[in-house]
Symmetry: C2
Subunit: 709 residues, 2 copies
């Protein structure tokens, strides 16, 4: 209880000169646009001594050591130079990267431009097709990889090569595979010096067609997708390497069974070998395999990691800049995500970071790998602080003194860090600190865009999980003009699934602004990160294995117990809302605790995990054949009979993540059992309702609580 | 006003010993099952002197002239005889037809059985495949036509022939065509003596696939249908004639354009020629063409009917039993549906019935075509009475003295009529009358199953249409324990489209029992048959041509004016509900009169006629290309901006009549314009929610009014 009070005191947001409450439009649309705290963009390192940013359409360089600044180029100057080469104006300063101190490259329209900042003119440029997707530029060779439909191409100033020529549209080259699980975000991987291009090749022809319908066409139109469901035949992925010199593609001999996962591709610095974190379909055995890039032969398995539940590789290995035989990798093998080094060829592994906390980001090494600079949850699971650890002694220094969530960008010489951070009362701030943690200067401070808006009190605290041991992070937002002698209704906003953490010490404690809107309407908002959620270690997450929803729900109910213990809570008026896994959780809570929850809104909910996809589904649930009991227990169709409160399901008609059949089958079961339930769909929307339509969605959700809770 | 009061007095339903109100279950499920008035079934003529009926599983014959009855056979005796031949028990007495006084035929399981009633044994039988559909038996030859998938077959005791062998599944033989418009209910037509079988052959290959999705499958499954939309390429139909003797099929040379409509097939008595009412795709020119059945050659156009709006043939011609050169046909050519005779070969046409009323059914002729016995709206558009007209003098006698809705079955010798009828206070009654209209005896009287249920007062009356001239039939149901000094909310139940009449002098004035349920909850129910609805003549219907929804809505608003003139109506609480065309009307009323309607529930609504099918759509609206203004004016998407009240759309996910894209596009427009709207779907259901799920539906509809109106 002592800890709880301390946190309360620390995290309370004070509003002194409040005048108005938050409108729904402000909450839904303003948060990502006109009320978003304004910060300079494209803050990055130009060289050891200078960082740059784009401010009011000027690219400005700042000296690290003093307050000198140089206006490198304005957008209008840039556009004048583009015009000279017959290119169209850029509306915003293009997203660019430095090639060296003078040269940057960027894409504009369908031009790849190398631009000389000193001369304020285009150094060189080439075009690529308008329909090109999955652009991936290698600045060393000046080569752009891209795809057209399902095939892969490479282009440079004097190069124009087609790498694959698959006629079958369901064989896809150069795109992200495995439904973007395992940290996969792209499908092409340039070798360090740009002589070779590794790429994913995915064969989906053996996966059945899944029918989506475009209802907005004059006549509704079939749009087939490939959506392998848990336990069903899955796609097959290979890794090809295209050699730009001999124009040959070699496929790595990754073997069988072909429905394994090829993840976290890394090139060796010498470009001769490539590393793949290969995971079996069962997801309990990961081998880091090294292949000969020129023959595709397996050289050896460098590392192997097994787990009785699952192994989930999400970080590619990183080679040492000073020792080509050493790489660093991240693993949760000791229960927490930590950094290890591995020395080749003997495979000697050394754990670098250690403790009951997690490394969340590697910034880099200084002084020839002497120190590792990283981001972690070491202080507090709500925060992200930057640290520097001596890789030999293990001595660790915290570099960021301010509580909050820090994101660091190490300078090329590893001497300085641009520290972008927010905290409960800090909407946004950028500091320059030395890699020893000394504050050099404050680069930017965002204004509080909500200072004139009266916000309900926002507190973060912990309660015990259902195991009686684990602390769970909670956030509560009280209604405006809170009066502790009154009784208030509560809306639990829930996600609860893996890979997410809703309570964070970012600005406003990471609250969705909709919660402030509901606070202005007299509703308490409550959110709890149950076991199964992210950044709390392996066991905290995988305790839910083969039984999704069970422990998560038990933990959420501890939150309800806590709420009910408060004198100002109206226990007869508790509602719950969540989307995706949070929709699944909404159903769990509504159906397993019908006496507790009066109103629920489940968006894009998983209803039955056997209708969910292979990669995510089988990791947490195994297959329906292997775990029939678990699937049965987590199948919301089996709990419909308990439904008592008002429940609305909402689904995007084009949802390709949680397919709409999940909701439709739930409705059918409700109808079969004569249970009234409400439903709404968002045509044209996929798994999330984005853009302006989100205002309509949140008005619908809000009205449902306002009318029924 | 005088007339109104008279009708009030006549049609009021009195409830004396009322005890309880109608439950929703009684209203929705009871009406068609446990509360349905019990009547003997299969009442039909055995011979000139006897009629039969099935009563308590006994087939009983009754003598016309006295009260003698004969128990012909019981179900258990029948089953014993079936068992002897190795056939399964029938659960209910099979639906049968007389071949002669002793023999009947029926289908049971997949057996066609000819049964001897005298000997109480199977006379003969043969089997047909279990998957057979579209069964059509010709008793003269003992031949059964049926289809398997898209092909046509014939079977008899010693015959087993495949007539068509189309491999392409979208070429369909022997099934109803043209989406069952134009009175088409079947796809096979036996020649009178059974030597030839005419059949529809429909080629849908040129119509695009329309995607429906079966969301109840383990993985959602595509179910393509053919749904040609107004103005789009339509299917093509031919009429084949298969000769059982020479086993040859000849197609009638019906010519081009091939997307015309072949309707109302009739054989000449000599089997040598066949008649087709052929309608052009524009539906404004109908030719009755006579074809040579053996060659397919067009012999001649016997009749032609044109109309600037549309011609809608729905009754096949009927040949005289005494003069093979004369046939009778029905037409609305003088503005009302009347009977004409046509003498071949000179084509002389004589109008038989005449007047500002409509013939609704032909029963037959007596005394060698001297008299025509028919059913008509002559007395009153709310009623169906039986009449006998002297075809020479035109002298007309009414045969049924009792007000109500009569359905007659003429005896083989044309001397007697079984008169089945209901009326406002008569749940069901069967009389035997002579063909001169003399009541011979009362065969059966149904008990009032609702006598212990307290029903709101149900009145029928007329008001003037928006043209100030036409009388429109209305029905109002007042709440139980009506107190004229109080103010009540109203729910308008609407259909409003062609081919339907909601206010009828049948039992309870044809009220949906749901209206009594809502009456028990304190809601007035109101229904008006606007112009455009059925049985009121050509102009009453086709005044809506090219502008669906406009005049219908204006007439409905006259009903609203009337309601508002009543002291006991709460004009601030008016709701509207309808399905299909009634869903379209609900949208019209909600969106064109947002100040009037507070709550609406539109089921399976047409939103935009350009998304409706060719046959029905183009009849009333022409094509979108021909009538862009009309389509625009009737497109509910163009009125969404007016939405003010609470509106719910409901759609069957598998709706093949009004496709769900209609509702989905409406929702999209609501979202675009930030209008809140509610929605629900019934998975697995087509255009209507049937079976037990209907209770869920009507509970949802009821709740919407109870909660919001």
């Amino acid at each position: 209880m002592k800890q709880l009070l301390t946190l309360l005191a620390l995290f309370v947001i004070f509003n002194v000169s409040a005048q108005q409450t938050m409108s729904l439009k402000d909450a839904v649309l303003g948060a990502s646009s006109y009320l978003k705290p304004k910060m300079p963009v494209q803050i990055k390192w130009k060289d050891d001594r200078h960082y740059v940013m784009v401010k009011e359409n000027h690219l400005i360089a700042f000296n690290v050591q003093n307050n000198d600044s140089t206006d490198l180029i304005s957008l209008s100057e840039l556009n004048a130079a583009l015009k000279e080469k017959g290119m169209k104006n850029a509306v915003l300063f293009p997203v660019f990267s430095f090639i060296n101190e003078s040269l940057i490259w960027f894409q504009t329209d369908n031009h790849l431009v190398i631009f000389n900042l000193d001369r304020k003119s285009v150094d060189s440029s080439f075009d690529y097709p308008e329909k090109a997707e999955h652009l991936d530029y290698n600045a060393v060779q000046g080569m752009l990889a891209y795809t057209i439909k399902n095939n892969l191409f490479v282009k440079g100033i004097s190069v124009d090569q087609q790498i694959t020529d698959d006629m079958e549209e369901h064989i896809i080259n150069g795109a992200a595979v495995h439904r973007n699980e395992f940290g996969i975000e792209k499908g092409t991987f340039w070798s360090p010096k740009g002589h070779q291009l590794a790429f994913y090749h995915m064969d989906e022809t053996m996966v059945g067609d899944y029918p989506l319908v475009d209802y907005m066409a004059r006549e509704a139109k079939l749009v087939n997708i490939k959506y392998p469901m848990a336990g069903m035949t899955s796609h097959q992925v290979k890794l090809g390497i295209y050699n730009l010199d001999n124009k040959q593609t070699v496929y790595m001999k990754t073997g069988l069974p072909a429905d394994h996962y090829l993840t976290n591709i890394s090139w060796a610095p010498d470009e001769k070998t490539i590393f793949i974190a290969e995971l079996n379909r069962e997801q309990n055995d990961m081998k880091l395999n090294q292949y000969d890039a020129s023959t595709g032969d397996l050289i050896k398995t460098v590392l192997e990691e097994k787990d009785s539940k699952y192994v989930e590789p999400v970080h590619p290995i990183v080679f040492s800049a000073t020792n080509a035989n050493r790489f660093y990798y991240q693993s949760r093998q000791d229960g927490w995500n930590h950094v290890y080094s591995c020395d080749m060829p003997d495979g000697k592994v050394t754990q670098i970071t250690k403790g009951n906390w997690e490394v969340t980001e590697l910034l880099g090494f200084d002084e020839g790998d002497k120190n590792l600079i990283f981001e972690a949850t070491r202080e507090n699971t709500l925060e992200r602080q930057l640290y520097r650890i001596n890789t030999h002694s293990g001595k660790t220094d915290r570099l960021t003194p301010d509580a909050g969530t820090h994101l660091g960008l190490l300078s090329p010489d590893k001497q300085n860090i641009i520290d972008r951070w927010t905290s409960t009362n800090v909407p946004g701030r950028v500091d320059l600190i030395s890699s020893k943690g000394i504050l050099l200067k404050t680069i930017a401070v965002a204004k509080n865009t909500l200072k004139d808006i009266d916000l309900g009190e926002n507190t973060v605290f912990t309660i015990k999980a259902d195991d009686g041991i684990t602390d769970l992070n909670c956030r509560m937002i009280k209604p405006n003009n809170f009066d502790p002698s009154k009784k208030y209704p509560v809306i639990v906003y829930v996600y609860g699934g893996p890979h997410a953490q809703l309570v964070n010490k970012t600005w406003l404690n990471d609250a969705r602004w909709w919660q402030y809107y509901m606070a202005s309407k007299g509703y308490i908002s409550f959110t709890l990160d149950n076991r199964g959620s992210d950044n709390r270690g392996r066991e905290f997450e995988n305790v839910t294995h083969r039984q999704l929803g069970v422990i998560e729900t038990a933990d959420q109910m501890k939150g309800i117990d806590y709420l009910k213990s408060l004198p100002y809570i109206d226990a007869a008026r508790i509602g719950v809302h969540g989307w995706s896994f949070g929709g699944f959780m909404t159903l769990n809570l509504m159906l397993k605790h019908p006496e507790t929850f009066k109103v629920g809104v489940a968006g894009g909910p998983v209803v039955d995990w056997s209708m969910y996809e292979v990669m995510y589904g089988e990791r947490y649930m195994d297959t329906p054949e292997e775990n029939p009991k678990g699937y049965e227990n987590s199948n919301m169709l089996n709990y419909v009979d308990n439904l008592k409160g008002k429940l609305m399901l909402i689904h995007g008609v084009e949802d390709q993540t949680v397919v709409m059949q999940q909701s439709i089958q739930f409705l059918k079961k409700c109808i079969d059992l004569d249970k009234q339930v409400d439903f709404f769909v968002y045509p044209t929307h996929e798994h999330n309702v984005r853009g302006n339509d989100r205002l309509h969605l949140m008005e619908k959700v809000s009205n449902y609580f306002l009318d029924n809770l």
